[in-house]
């Protein structure tokens, strides 16, 4: 299953540095074919159209309410990069197994700021943690509960940052990543705000922060109308700081169609520690595309537990960049496809420094004949990353005929003193395990249900909070009940 090749699908033009704080904004003009400039020759009219719509949605009416410099910089660099990008097709390697055409065929409509009087009743408040509610990409302070953080911790809109030092760091980080794709850039153009979470040096935040992303706007199925939200979050943990982040996505009406195009950036300074729980429970007709970009300085510790079970199309792009030695990275993901849906994880871990330790576990269950799971996990161990210890494993359970999984765990190793392993398994349930249940008088249906559920538990159990674990377990259980996956 393994390959050791990797060819980036997109070539990005190097992003020029921006000497001044402000730059004239790139306007998107869809040119007639005859007047294409050499650069725009690569442009995709459809992409430019979306970009234009997004840009209009965030444009400010007067110069007095200009966005903060980092947000402006983000929009500029994103606009710049998008000129050379086109909408992905199945000919592009990273999109070989997923079909994004249903987004392309829709009328995409960025969702404006909800009026303060909007009804937020649909958003449940069943969390015992401090929480920040983000509806259709916009922070809703009235629904959020942010008390109890230690002094110096900042959680909120980028516009609310008063400290210049923090603003300066945010400015450096906000467009620090150059390996993004079209969706990364579209988010950069369309993000109405950047939610900033700042943990100062040495500060260990006891309670996790629950980021609750909620998609309220939706188009009727078949109406061709697809509201788009572009939430963006930046987490910065200074030296020795520590925080838990719960990133949870859900939607309103089950039969509504929407597109969430989300980005979260996490920067860990020396010895910083983040435990990141990512729960994707969008509604069955949604498109959910998300980027997670992690930057790890020396001796930092990043742990991610992902549970993705929602959406018609769900794509998670995960990029972890090591920028110092002795880092610890633990990535686990559980994907569940119980209907005509695709769960896709494309991950990349780049190790450039000595003694990095990483473990990755990906598990998926496909319980529908037209359901699909995709995993492309790349680990790059570069020349100076000696004594790296990297392990990667993907295990997949196909419960229906024609259910599909495409997995490509792959290691690229240049350093010569490393310990790396990877493996892939695709199977039905194990006969020996089934027999063990039967030998104790447990019927086949109960057995299969228990074993299918247990398959995902290995990842779900890694969630660090009991209340969250229970909530996810009952959600997964309910989804599995809807399938014939439990039946022989």
């Amino acid at each position: 299953m393994a390959t050791v090749t990797f060819s980036p699908p997109f070539r990005f033009s190097p992003i020029s540095s921006f000497p001044s704080k402000f730059r004239t904004r790139t306007r998107f003009i869809i040119p007639p074919l005859s007047s294409l400039t050499p650069r725009a020759a690569l442009s995709d009219p459809f992409v430019l159209e979306i970009a234009q719509t997004l840009e209009d949605s965030v444009s400010t009416p007067s110069p007095s309410s200009l966005p903060p410099p980092p947000l402006q910089k983000l929009r500029d660099t994103s606009s710049e990069s998008i000129l050379s990008m086109s909408w992905p097709t199945r000919k592009d390697e990273p999109f070989r197994f997923i079909d994004t055409s249903f987004i392309k065929q829709s009328r995409i409509h960025p969702i404006p700021i909800p009026s303060p009087s909007s009804d937020l009743a649909g958003i449940s408040s069943d969390t015992q943690f401090p929480s920040l509610v983000i509806v259709d990409g916009h922070i809703v302070p009235s629904a959020s509960q942010l008390s109890g953080f230690p002094d110096g911790v900042y959680v909120g809109s980028i516009s609310g940052i008063s400290s210049e030092a923090i603003m300066e760091k945010v400015l450096q980080l906000v467009s620090d990543f150059h390996d993004g794709d079209l969706f990364w850039s579209l988010n950069g153009i369309g993000a109405p705000d950047v939610t900033v979470i700042f943990v100062p040096a040495g500060c260990q935040v006891e309670k996790p922060l629950h980021l609750r992303f909620y998609s309220r706007e939706g188009g009727e199925i078949g109406s061709n109308y697809m509201p788009l939200s572009s939430p963006r979050v930046l987490v910065l943990v200074e030296k020795g700081g520590e925080i838990g982040i719960i990133e949870e996505y859900s939607g309103g009406d089950a039969d509504k169609c929407y597109w969430a195009n989300s980005v979260i950036q996490l920067a860990l300074e020396e010895e910083a520690k983040i435990h990141h729980s990512y729960i994707q429970a969008q509604t069955a007709s949604a498109a959910h595309i998300k980027w997670t970009f992690v930057r790890q300085e020396s001796s930092s510790n990043y742990e991610l537990v992902e549970i993705s079970a929602g959406g018609k199309l769900s794509r998670h792009n995960l990029h972890v960049q090591q920028v110092g030695p002795d880092t610890i990275t633990e990535l686990s993901a559980f994907h569940l496809s119980v209907s005509d849906q695709t769960q896709d994880l494309h991950s990349r871990l780049v190790l450039d420094h000595p003694r990095g330790y990483s473990r990755q576990l990906h598990k998926s269950i496909v319980a529908h004949s037209s359901g699909q799971a995709v995993f492309d996990g790349n680990i790059k161990v570069n020349r100076y990353a000696q004594q790296t210890d990297a392990g990667q494993l993907t295990k997949n359970l196909l419960l229906e005929p024609r259910a599909t999984v495409n997995v490509k765990p792959n290691l690229q190793i240049i350093a010569d003193d490393v310990k790396c392993s990877h493996g892939a398994a695709i199977s039905d349930l194990e006969e020996d395990q089934i027999f063990y249940f039967q030998a104790r008088g447990i019927d086949l249906e109960t057995t299969r249900k228990a074993l299918v559920f247990a398959f995902g538990s290995e990842v779900v159990e890694r969630l660090p909070y009991n209340s969250l674990k229970k909530k996810v377990q009952s959600h997964v259980k309910a989804l599995l009940e809807t399938t014939s996956g439990g039946a022989p």
């Binding site: 194990e430 020996d432 249940f437 030998a439 008088g441 447990i442 086949l444 228990a450």
Partner: protein
């Protein structure tokens, strides 16, 4: 042959007899096993009587199996000419096994590696790796071979696995609860929720000398050899069985663990239920005293006797028995 029809011995005679196994008795035993092991006439005998006859040296430490003179306990399991192959390769493993187990008896099957002992126990519980090609197995008057594995379990047949498999993601507690409720359903009794079941199970933990956190761990995941065996016996304690087949319950155990497991098994015995042990070593038989020992070789039971067979085995190996 006529020896087989001796009347059952009196209890006083039983206790006064010493073990005096000899090559001669072995010979006679072998002959009898070849010619009329478990045929119709055998069924009229009480087991202890036949033991006495075979070896002239009954071990009656347990005294089980013949509590009332002349009143033969009911037959629990009757296996006749059972043959089986490996489902995949069709290689024949069992070549005509005959065995009768009555209520309250303890039997042990010993034999070399590859003799078919473990296969026999797996075939009894319906393991899908094996296919029965001939013969019969009647358990409590019903055809065992017609039943699915879970029906066999619910009907009162329990096998402890030689190498119990890990079930990641399923806690021991949940697993036991599922199995317990399957049994309750079968008996038409009330199924128990996790909290009520916890009451039931926590009392049983002492039986195998295990701590309560044993229940929160996933089934057999990361268990030591000893913990796995204890877990099998815990399952037996919770579910109960008319016939327990213990497949190498002693392998990989230190003396303390072996004593714990043996004590637990002994504690579960009643005059009605029976045990069939599969083992390599006499050591186990010091703790759980069998009424009968069967020697298996090349897919058949080639010899049946009492505990003294095991002593010969321990000293001289299987050669002493097969060449005798």
């Amino acid at each position: 042959m006529s020896l087989l029809h001796l009347p059952p011995p009196s209890p006083s005679r039983l206790t006064s007899l010493r073990n005096s196994f000899s090559v001669i008795t072995l010979n006679s035993l072998r002959v009898s096993s070849q010619r009329c092991r478990f045929n119709q006439s055998r069924l009229t005998l009480t087991p202890t009587a036949s033991l006495t006859v075979d070896s002239h040296s009954p071990t009656t430490s347990s005294g089980r199996g013949s509590t009332e003179e002349g009143d033969s306990p009911k037959v629990l399991l009757e296996v006749r000419d059972l043959t089986a192959v490996i489902a995949e390769s069709k290689a024949q493993i069992l070549k005509g096994v005959n065995l009768v187990i009555r209520e309250g008896e303890i039997h042990a099957i010993m034999g070399k590696n590859g003799s078919g002992k473990s296969t026999f126990s797996k075939v009894l519980v319906g393991h899908p790796d094996y296919e029965v090609t001939g013969g019969s197995a009647i358990f409590k008057g019903e055809n065992l071979l017609d039943m699915d594995p879970e029906e066999r379990s619910l009907f009162g047949l329990f096998m402890s696995f030689q190498s119990p498999i890990e079930i990641p993601g399923v806690s021991n507690m949940d697993f036991l609860n599922m199995a317990y409720n399957a049994r309750m359903r079968k008996l038409g009794r009330k199924e128990l929720g996790p909290i009520e079941f916890y009451e039931v199970i926590s009392r049983k933990l002492d039986v195998v000398n295990m701590k309560i956190d044993f229940l929160n761990r996933n089934v057999n995941e990361g268990f030591s050899g000893g913990e796995r065996k204890r877990n099998e016996i815990l399952q037996l304690a919770v579910l109960g069985a008319d016939l327990s087949v213990l497949d190498e319950i002693d392998s990989g155990l230190d003396v303390d663990a072996l004593q714990d497991v043996a004590k637990a098994v002994n504690g579960l015995l009643t005059p009605k239920n029976s045990v069939l042990m599969i083992t390599h070593y006499q050591r186990l038989l010091d703790y759980i005293r069998p009424n009968y020992i069967h020697i298996m070789d090349d897919g058949r039971i080639v010899k049946t006797g009492d505990i003294s067979i095991a002593k010969v085995l321990e000293k001289e190996g299987y050669k002493a028995i097969s060449s005798a």
